[in-house]
Structures are given as structure tokens and as C-alpha cells.
Symmetry: none
Subunit: 199 residues, 4 copies
DNA sequence: AATGAATGAGGGTTCATTCAT
DNA sequence: TATGAATGAACCCTCATTCAT
């Protein structure tokens, strides 16, 4: 008597599977047939829920927007200070913690994303975030550091995955300390923002 | 009797144009027709010089190997020290300086590269480099930092491009100081390697 | 308790909208989704009222049959004479006056109609009409003229539309005189029927 | 030893077969697969010769332009007179004589053609022709008659085909007299151009 | 009287690749 | 050292249609 398709939430399942495949094989190399097959439906079924392949991607991205927007909103209400700057990094890191697959996807599919309109929207969000991390009159280096700092959060996650895979007689690393490392490195990068170049 | 195409080195021109297009639109979305068109030859001509599309990519990657291999070779002959570690970062940065397009390509086409055998070879090289940056008994954090440090070099280059694009009435930033910033950030990240976690 | 859709006559509204779209974009290029959308219902709703797409078309055609059948019926009871012939043309023209969209559709979708069984029925009707326009022993030219005459009625309507669109600072032409022109031209063509070829 | 594909003129053969199928089943209902199949090649082969399905159609249409353009060119050099008007009709009729399939296609696929850019070009040509058929200060009726006259040429051809098919114990009609009838009818319609409305 | 979800068939198009010349 | 012609597989997408509710 139980339904075979685990609920009417096909739309959500599509987004799920799509993200999984997109992040694994890339957006271009993932065909709608693969997505449909893995879901046990027809390609045409996807088109009942999404107007276009790009639309599926947009659906994915939207599911990531919330935490970033919240971080931006919070940041806008604070006066600038190094503590606020660090807090933004922290909030960003936290917000992204359970969205690693999406982050990987974003990082590894830039050429696609860049040309796909959804990319512009994401980019703008990131730029806004970085602006809140910079002091009143940021130098070029300040701005680069802000951007790199956030990106380090992203990158570190899957770098540490790779590091773990590499011959590891060691103990498996728990997710929290992985995140802690990411945060530490990101804050390192952010720390020099606003300080005079000591070159 | 003079050659009709500027030089007979069509092969090199193919690699050139291919890299340009691959890095701009991505490997998957770049068709051989586009490459051929921009070169003013036929698709079939490409097949005279390369056996497959993947082969072109291999050609590209090979042209990047040298400086990394040299850095590895150099590093292997030095006993480990923080100075050596920094020097490796420096050499890597320098070697990559005029290969930014390739770096971008590598970064932005991971899903493709991962599945393309040429990726494995590149990854191994990078791992070797990072190993030389780590002390004798690296912690997990040490290893992550080493990897992130190198990746920061890559990432910073095109992050700063983006930062420049963003509205700035300021002076255009010259390539050297761009590289200097990249290096500084990378060294920041590397600096804590080997130090006890002060969390 | 009032009906939610203006009237319960959805069926008629479907035929209406369908004809509008069929005549504008053609039968093949008009999808059931477009029809449904414009009506504010679902595709599936159409299937409550019609068994197939072709059925909708049949519905359309049927709504046009009456005046032609009447003209035929009338013609059959008259003995042939040039006056009767002209009267048939007149009645046909009048009957079609408020069915221009349908005429256009018929004219411009012949390949479809030809293969759709509804086409045969319509064609037969037209042939019957032309027969009544021909004298007792029609020559080939007589028969052609009869057919062309009727077709001129159809064609003229949307030709004159096109002519109006074409740049003319002149007064907009009222429908009646448009019809008058159509009729005049059609009668011109019919006039020579039965006369010896004066070639 | 003879080549199986009857020559390297694939491009021309495509146009040929395409026109045949387009005019028989309509543009929309004719799939590239059908065209390819009948030619004994792959769909992809069509794309070597034409960029698009629409392009095939454009190829077809271009092959019809010449005689019309010539008629226009000739007409432009003559001062207007009823004789010139009739001569234009004659030249048009002659030019179209061996292009009946194309004419049929044009007539029966208006909805498609209208939206296909190639339609605009054709329409302009026809308008130009009709302008040459009108006197200096044409009334609305004059302009309609000019347009109808030309269209009668087109229509008559396949009307008379239909008339022949219809039960014909009679002798088969030879093409020349068919054309003669068409011309006669068209000239009938044109004759009243410029005369005061005798309504 | 109508909908939501899905399907199967087919559409036009693009691609990497081949091969005789 | 290249090209012209072609292919086979796959792609994204659309459509008419169905059926349980």
C-alpha cells in the first residue's frame, strides 16, 4: 500500500539528484537522461517540474541563497570593525557547512555558471559580502583578501577531502575539525585587512 | 614558396587557441569546430595533429608541467625548513605567473579533468609539491594549509581580476603587484605550518 | 454558486480559441498547451471535451458547414442559369463573411487538412458547390473558373487585409466594401463560364 | 564502378527532396529524418550542407527568386500602361510555370512562412510586382485586384489539378492549356484595374 | 468538470570522429 | 598537410496523450 515513489516530492528529489550528478560529473556532462534514470522517471517528467535544464540549476542555487543573504543582512546593520569582519566569515562558513556539494559545484563549474545568469546573481551576493568585510577605504589588497578569505572557506572543504583520501593511515578527520581548519585559514587571510602594507 | 600559414607550427597554434577557448567557455562547451574556425582550418585538420579532443588537452597540460616539476626537483634536494617551504611557494607562484589561463582552466574544469586521466597526473604533482611544504610529521591542518596555500596562488590571480573589474575609479593594478599580493596571501596561509595548534 | 468560468460552455470557448491560434500560427505549430493556457485551464481539460487534437479541428470545421450546405441545398432546387450561378457565389460570399478566420485557416493549412479526413469532407462540399455553378456540359475551363471563383472569395479577404497593412495614409477600408470587392472579383471570374472560348 | 550516390550534388538533391516533401506534407510535418531517409543519408549529413531546417527552406525559396526579380526589373523600366500590366502578369505566369510545386508550398504553408523571415522577403517581392501593375493613383480595389490577379495564377495551377482528378472521363488536359486558362483568368481580374468603379 | 503528474515518441541540433582524396 | 563529406550517438526539448484523483 505504500507508494513506490517515496512521496509527491518529485521536484525536490530532482534537485537533489541533479546536484549530486552536477557536482560529480559537471553540469555539461550530466545529461537529463542520467538524472531521470536515477530517479526512475522519464526525461519528460523533469520537464513537468522545470522548464529547462538551466532551471533545475537555478532551483539548486536558490536553495543556497538564504544563508548568504542572511549574512549580508546582518552585516549591513553592524558598523564596521575587525570583529564584525571575522563574524561575517564565521557566519558564511557556518551557512555553507552543510552545502558543500553545492559549493564544490559552484567552484568547479565556473565556465558554465559564468554564462548562465544564475552566476551573475551569485557573484553579486559574494561581492556584497566581501564589501562588508572591508574597512572604510579598502586598498586593492584589502579587497583581494576579503574575496580570497571567503573562497578559502569553499576551497578548503574539498581540499581537505582530498587530503584525507591521500594515504591516510591516520585517524579519519571529523567534520567539525575540518570546518574549524577551514575557518582558521580563512581568518588568517582576513586578518591583515585594513593593516598598512608591511611589504 | 613561403608558408601560407604564418608558421608551420600549427600544432602549437592549436594548443594555444584551444587553451584560450577551454579556459573561457570550459572544455565541454568548447567544440572542435570553434577551435578550427578560429584557426581558419577544418576540424579534420585538428585530427592530423591530435588523435582526440582529450589529446589536445593533454598537450596543453604537458606545456605546464615543466615549472612544477622543476620546483619539485629543487625541493627534493633541500632539507625541510620554513624557508624552503616558503621558497617552494615562491617558485610555484613564479612558475605559474605566465600560465594564468591554464591555472584558471584547471580550477574551473575540475569535473572534466578529474575523469580525464590527465587530471590524475596533475593532482599527483600537486600532492608532491605540498608534501615538500610540510614538516616531518605533519598534522592534518598542516597538510590542508600546504594545499590551500598553493591553491590560493591560483585563485588569487583571477579573483583579483574580478576585483579590478568591479567598479574602481582607482588606478589599474599592474601584474607584478597582483602577483605580489597573491604571494603574500599564500605565505600567510603557509606560515602556520608546523606550529602547534594554538586554538 | 455562480459559475466560475464565465459560462459553462467551455467546449465552445475551446473551439474559439483553437481556431484563433490555428489560423494564426497554423495547426501543427499550435500546441494544446497554448490553447489551454489562453483559456486558463489545463491541457487535460481539453481532453474532457475532445478526444484528440484532430477532434477539435473537426469541431471547428463543423461549425462552418451549415452555410455551405444551405447554399448547396438552395442551388440544387434551381435550374441552372447564369443568375443562379452568380447567386451561388453571392450566397457563398455572404455565408463566409463572418467566418474569415476559418477560411484563412483552411487555405493556409492545406497539407494538414488534406491528410486529416475532415479535409475530404470539406473538399466534397466545395466540389458540389462548383458543380452547381457550371452549366450542363462544362468545359475544363468552365470548371476551373467555377472553382477559382469561389477561392477568390476566400483569398480576397486576407489579401485585402495585407493591402491595407501596406503603407496607406488613406482611409481605413470598411468590411462591407472589402466584401463587395471580393464579390465583384469573384463574379468577374465566374462571368465567362459557359461562354465559348474566345481565345 | 558507378558511384552509388548519383554525384557530389548532395546539396541540390536535398533541396529537391525537401521541396517535394514540404509541399506534400507541409513544412512542419516533414521531419529531417524523412528527408534524410529518402536520400539515403543521415540527418547529420543535412547539417553539413545547411545550418538549419529553415535554411533548407531558404535554399528552396532562393531558387525561385530569379524569375520574379526579372519581372520586377523589367517592369520598372516601362512606363505604366495596361499592356505593361498584362505583360507583367504574363511574365509572372511564365516564370512560375515550372515551379508549381514551390508555389503550392508557398500557398499552403503560409502560417509557417509568415513567421520564417523568408516569408517577408517573398511578400515584399510580390508587393513590388503588384505595384507595377497598378496605375498612378490606384484605388483600394485596384490594389486588391492586382494582388488577386497574381495569386490567381498560383491558385489556378493546383485547382485545375484537383479538377482533373475529379471524375474525368474526359481527355487529360495538357499543361500548356492549363497555363493558358490560368493566364486568362488572371488577366480577367487585372482588366478592371484603373477603370472607374462601375458599382 | 477538471487537474497534477507522468509518459513515449519524436523533433531539430550538435558533437567528436572517420576516411577517401 | 590538410579538406570535404559523412556518420552515429547523444543532447535538450516539445508534444499529444493518459489516468488516477
Amino acid at each position: 500500500m505504500t507508494t513506490q515513489t517515496p512521496r509527491g516530492d518529485t521536484r525536490a528529489r530532482i534537485v537533489d539528484v541533479a546536484l549530486e550528478l552536477f557536482s560529480e560529473h559537471g553540469y555539461e556532462k550530466t545529461s537529463l537522461r542520467e538524472i531521470a534514470d536515477r530517479l526512475g522517471v522519464t526525461k519528460a517528467a523533469l520537464y513537468y517540474h522545470f522548464r529547462t535544464k538551466e532551471d533545475i540549476l537555478a532551483g539548486i542555487v536558490d536553495s543556497m541563497s538564504a544563508p548568504i543573504d542572511e549574512a549580508i543582512a546582518w552585516g549591513r546593520e553592524q558598523p564596521y570593525s575587525p570583529e564584525v569582519r571575522d563574524e561575517i566569515v564565521r557566519r558564511f562558513a557556518e551557512g555553507m557547512a552543510d552545502r558543500q556539494r553545492l559549493l564544490r559545484f559552484f567552484h568547479e563549474n565556473q565556465p558554465t555558471i559564468r554564462e548562465l545568469s544564475v552566476g551573475t546573481r551569485f557573484k553579486e551576493r559574494m561581492i556584497n559580502l566581501t564589501r562588508l568585510m572591508q574597512g572604510p577605504e579598502p586598498t586593492f589588497e584589502d579587497r583581494v583578501r576579503a574575496a580570497v578569505s571567503l573562497m578559502v572557506i569553499n576551497v578548503t572543504h574539498f581540499i581537505s577531502e582530498a587530503v584525507e583520501e591521500e594515504q591516510c593511515g591516520n585517524e579519519p578527520v571529523d567534520p567539525e575539525s575540518r570546518q574549524a581548519v577551514a575557518l582558521r585559514v580563512a581568518l588568517d587571510v582576513a586578518e591583515q585587512i585594513g593593516k598598512p602594507a608591511q611589504d
